[in-house]
Symmetry: C2
Subunit: 198 residues, 2 copies
Amino acid sequence: MENYVHGYTETEARRLQDQAVTLAGLLHRDVRFPAGSRILEAGCGTGSQTVLLARNNPDSRFVSIDVSPSSLLQAEEAVGAAGLTNVRFEQADIFSLPFAEETFDQVFVCFVLEHLADPAAALRCLRRVLRKGGDITVVEGDHGSFYCHPETPAARRTVDCLVEIQAGLGGNALIGRQLDPLLLAGGFSRPKVTPRLV
Amino acid sequence: MENYVHGYTETEARRLQDQAVTLAGLLHRDVRFPAGSRILEAGCGTGSQTVLLARNNPDSRFVSIDVSPSSLLQAEEAVGAAGLTNVRFEQADIFSLPFAEETFDQVFVCFVLEHLADPAAALRCLRRVLRKGGDITVVEGDHGSFYCHPETPAARRTVDCLVEIQAGLGGNALIGRQLDPLLLAGGFSRPKVTPRLV
């Protein structure tokens, strides 16, 4: 993903890993799939969420995709190091998924839509490969909901900068609040949004 | 309380009641006191929270105070209508509590500190009547954390107005984020703050 706002550095890979561990309880506490599910993880990056998903759902099989071959290599290594064998990695683009219609029982997307210029189109692409009656789980942030005390101009500027730069790259750091209309625009009915506080 | 930003109208009493019911799960799910506890509810207003507290903790005895005699009458009526008999109401000011030191095992304050010019002083007054080792439960909002989509100038202005007017009256609609330092300033050690999203 050329416009990934945080860049492809080792520091960023470590940040993603720290973030995944810190937020594991918050984000994954209710992400449990029925045994035997075939699950697409779209935009797995360096595999920080993949490890949690695969560990928490040992009786499901995951296909985890990403556009970045180097991220996939790191993801593969992380999953291997965790001793997990229920994940297959594949290099693929969300907008041209190499899967037949209704291939998957579940789709999982975490911190991905915020980086895409047309997240609703991405959701439609994901919906195509999801079987009828299957569920999509979408996890996204909303940096506009950040606040602190005491608030300094520097703290405020730091967050505003991220929001602006991500917007400049075609992304949207304020996507959290838009998930309901986005899922509807993506063709999903009855979205259930549960805001969580970090 | 002369500077109660929402005023003392029938509409406001109804709003408080609606709010209490809507937020009951969010605010009261973990507010359970040991059987036999003597609990001070400070600033009970029209009793919306009192009914929930007394119902959820039938083996505790509550003393619920407020500065407004007319609010207390409504609170008394609400508790009576709910068939609850474990609450005694008393007209009193948080800043001159008519109780001996260490009278209570627990103190509960909900949506009160935000209206006070010196919330740390109020906490110190409450701490005086709390026995050593007793706990205080403080529930406050933070209107600065409001956001919506799509955001209209009118929606933003509405929330900003509330924040400004409350500040003009000596209160603080952004108090939520300050609870940790406030509790420390009030003499309480090891505050545990659990932000919850409405």
